[in-house]
Amino acid sequence: MSVDAETGPGNRGSRILGDLSGARDVGIAVTSTIVFLAIIVFAIVNSAGWPEVRHAFFDRRIFGDSFPEVARAFLLNVRIFCIAEVVILVVALGIAVLRGLPGPVLFPFRLLAVAYTDLFRGIPTILVIYILGFGAPALQLSGVPRSPFFWGVTALVLVYSAYVAEVYRAGIESVHPSQEAAARSLGLSRAKTLRFVIVPQAVRRVIPPLLNDFIGLQKDSALVALIGPIEAFRQSQIDVAATFNYTPYMATALLFVLLTIPLARLTDWLVARDRRRQSAGVAR
């Protein structure tokens, strides 16, 4: 098998910030970044409204006061999306598999899967949260929790499972049919073929778009505030109302960004690791 230098490790995609080789390149990159940032900061700080904006959004004392409260409330966001993510991974895979079922007998299941993804990708997330958050508890179903937390998480699971199911489906369809033929020819059933051959390959391929959806989910965990639970965004609203200053919003924004960065780097790392492990021309 030919060795393609382009696909070797350390080249494409395995470095987060592109390929910087040599001290000279690094020096140029650092200088360029500093100059670029300096221009932006200079433009903002010298704008006519800066003193007021700095007071309203970047008040150090208010930041210090509200940050611990917002951070505590942010733990609720973390709980919301951690639970939702685990459930979504399972539910979405189920829907993607349903949609791929063959034969005329199973048509109703395919139809159901299509209807589900159309419905929940179509309705705005905020509406699903409202409808479930206020409507579902009113049904007074026995054995089903009525807490807004439960229904908020459920709404996020329903919406994001529709997106993630499509991501999974794209991954499943990207696995060449010859893989299924090979597995079936060895006597593996359709279910075992999916489980051991198709889905593992599909999941590897869709990790970047899947984690991208999860970043979206983490942000949307703030929407659950609309039906009651006091998470980071709601807490910062309370603080803003108390101080007449917007700085608590900045604290919340900072927390969301801080959480996104590790997830984005994890995505890069997973992709690079997979490429390294399977690519040709390494340690032959």
């Binding site: 098998m1 033929a181 597995a183 079936r184 020819s185 060895l186 006597g187 593996l188 399977q278």
Partner: protein, 250 residues
């Protein structure tokens, strides 16, 4: 029972893809330990025939018997495939599994063997075909010839009664063809029953017990290799072989 002691018996197989009739009534008997080579131009139906025998393609008409037992319809296809191995032109190894796992997947998940037992058997097989040092590699790191040998080992690990080989050297660089053909020769010597679709005419002449010439979805002519290659009766067979000779492949 219409088996007459043959391992595989095909009666009037027909298969169409849309309006294209690929198999138009194929009859074939393959005896125990026999090596049958299918030759013929591209599109003559060789690959489709093999895929039908493995039940990867549903038949439109005809019957398939394995040791006298009809397998074409209403049977457990997975049970049939355990007994009939197939190796593809494009290897089709599982790229996310190491070589050893490629080989042990079906024995553990289909036959229910323990991991240790399956790994011991797989290691012995890999060793026999000169692949012992590759067992912990991922398929993409192997040469085409090595990958195809792994694919053969993967099929053999199920201890099939019959092996189907679908142009297994066609995707290989010329210098890698021999290593794969040697593996097949060894299997033939050990008495493995095989149906082989191939463009390697000299290999077919040396190894096959019988050669079948497929043309237009039928077996037009069959017989011992020396007869087919030196005294073909049918004009179509003569034309095909003349083209092969002109291309320097015989």
């Amino acid at each position: 029972m219409s088996s007459n002691g043959s391992l595989l018996r095909l009666e009037g197989l027909r298969k169409s893809f849309g309006a294209v009739e690929v198999l138009r009534g194929v009859d074939l008997d393959v005896g125990e330990h026999e090596v049958v080579c299918l030759i013929g131009a591209s599109g003559s139906g060789k690959s489709t025939l093999l895929r039908c025998i493995n039940l990867l393609e549903p038949l439109d008409a005809g019957r398939i018997f394995l040791r006298g037992e009809e397998i074409g319809r209403r049977v457990d296809v997975n049970a049939v495939r355990r007994r009939v191995g197939i190796v593809f032109q494009a290897f089709n190894l599982f790229p996310h599994m190491r070589v050893l796992r490629n080989v042990t997947l079906a024995p553990t998940r289909v036959l229910g063997k323990s991991r240790a037992e399956a790994e011991a058997e797989a290691t012995a097989l890999l060793d026999r075909f000169g692949l012992a040092d590759k067992r912990d590699e991922y398929p993409d790191r192997l040469s085409g010839g090595q990958q195809q040998r792994v694919a053969i080992v993967r099929a053999l690990a199920m201890r099939p009664e019959l092996m189907l080989l679908d142009e297994v050297t066609s995707a290989l660089d010329p210098e890698l063809v021999a290593e794969v053909l040697n593996v097949i020769r060894e299997l033939a010597e050990r008495g493995m029953t095989m149906v082989i679709a191939t463009h390697e005419m000299s290999f077919a002449r040396d190894t096959a017990d019988r050669v079948c010439f497929l043309d237009g979805g039928r077996i037009l002519e069959q017989g011992p290799p020396e007869e087919i290659f030196t005294r073909p009766r049918e004009p179509r067979t003569q034309q095909f072989l003349e083209r092969i000779i002109a291309a320097g492949r015989l």
